[in-house]
Amino acid sequence: MDNITLAQGIVKAAALLGAGMCMGMGALGPGVGEGFVAGKACEGIARSPENASLITRTMLVGQAVSESTGIYSLVIALLLIFST
């Protein structure tokens, strides 16, 4: 962080702001999706408790898949932070 020009400083600040906004908006969708999946799995287990292990497995895989959009935004945020 020694001598940087004004233009470089503006670019860096914009990248950091963009990274924060990217993470914040990218976490919205996966949060809603994972909560929805967990709620539906709870309903399923309450209706048929003998299938609990199968439902839990499917729920975990589904949550991990719906989490991937959040992970993409994390990767973009890391790129913005570390590569500018």
Binding site: V61, V65, I71, L74, V75
Partner: protein
């Protein structure tokens, strides 16, 4: 309700007290406490240490970039001769990262081979304890394969079990507190290679089952399938999604562990963080990668 505290809780409280006392003794977060022997005398003193979070993260996750900025001689964990060999091949700019990645991959491979030989040597009718463990893993994954692909395609089980064990050991090996140890899956090249391998196996299996033209006519027949370009893009995005998911989870977990541990100055909380991001997320992601590879194969075969 018993009034006895469990032994784990006792150990936990003991470590909290010890660590809090050490933080107060060292009096300040930018100082380092040195305990040990120096010049033959027992030493217990503060050292003023230069600590910068940004620098630490760069050193941990972009090691080539760090040494390019600082220009110090790199600290190499491993054989110097091998490093010189890699430096001749890859050039000076990316040699350290490549060397560390290949070293960790070799360690994982040797560990898996060692376990396999050890188990194979003592295969018994009445299984010993480690044999029971691995038979459990194998049987569970074999059941998934039978459910997804059907009884006659059960010969995919060795590939699926190998994929699961390799990714799981790769994710777990970062928890071992030895300097220079890191998860190989933290580098994008490893998940990308595994993803390309998985999708190639999907297509090779489909060609084996349906024949070359039977498989290709889904993609290159504009009359039957006008949006065939989108299908090709979908195949590429399969690789991207399956590999970036593993990579992002492991890298994000490692960065969160580093940042939060340094914020609480390494008191107690890192244990919980490592248990969550190392053990739980690592196991779930290895399982998800395996299940998705299996599902891709199942979708192509079932039609």
């Amino acid at each position: 309700m018993t009034k006895k505290k469990s032994p784990i809780l006792k150990i936990f409280i003991f470590f909290i007290i010890i660590e809090t006392a050490l933080v107060f003794v060292s009096s300040g977060f930018n100082k380092q406490l040195q305990i040990g022997f120096d010049d033959g005398k027992f030493v217990f003193r503060n050292i003023q240490s230069h600590y910068d979070l940004q620098e630490k993260i760069t050193e941990e996750f972009q090691i080539d970039e760090y040494y390019r900025q600082n220009g110090e001689t790199p600290k190499i964990y491993g054989s110097n001769k091998t490093y010189e060999f890699f430096k001749n091949i890859f050039g000076k700019t990316t040699a350290i990262g490549t060397f560390q990645l290949l070293r960790m991959l070799l360690i994982v491979d040797i560990l898996l081979l060692f376990i396999a030989l050890l188990i194979k040597k003592k295969l018994l009718k009445r299984p010993s304890q480690p044999q029971i463990l691995f038979e459990m893993v194998y049987t569970a994954l074999e059941q998934f394969v039978t459910e997804t692909l059907g009884k006659e395609k059960v010969n995919f089980t060795p590939y699926i079990v190998t994929l699961f064990l390799f990714i799981w050991v790769s994710n777990m090996i970062g928890m071992i507190p030895i300097p220079g140890f890191m998860e190989p899956t933290r580098n994008l090249n490893v998940p990308l290679g595994l993803g390309i391998l998985a999708v190639s196996i999907v297509h090779i299996t489909a060609i084996k089952v349906k024949g070359v033209w039977g498989h290709l006519k889904n993609y290159v027949n504009p009359v039957k399938n006008p949006l065939f370009l989108l299908d090709i893009i979908g195949e590429i995005s399969k690789v991207v999604s399956i590999s970036f998911r593993l990579f992002g989870n492991i890298l994000g977990g490692a960065i969160i562990i580093t940042v939060v541990s340094s914020l609480v100055s390494y008191v107690v909380l890192p244990v919980g963080l490592i248990l969550f991001f190392g053990l739980f997320v690592g196991t779930i992601q290895a399982f998800v990668f395996t299940m998705l590879a299996l599902t891709y194969i199942g979708v192509e075969i079932s039609e």
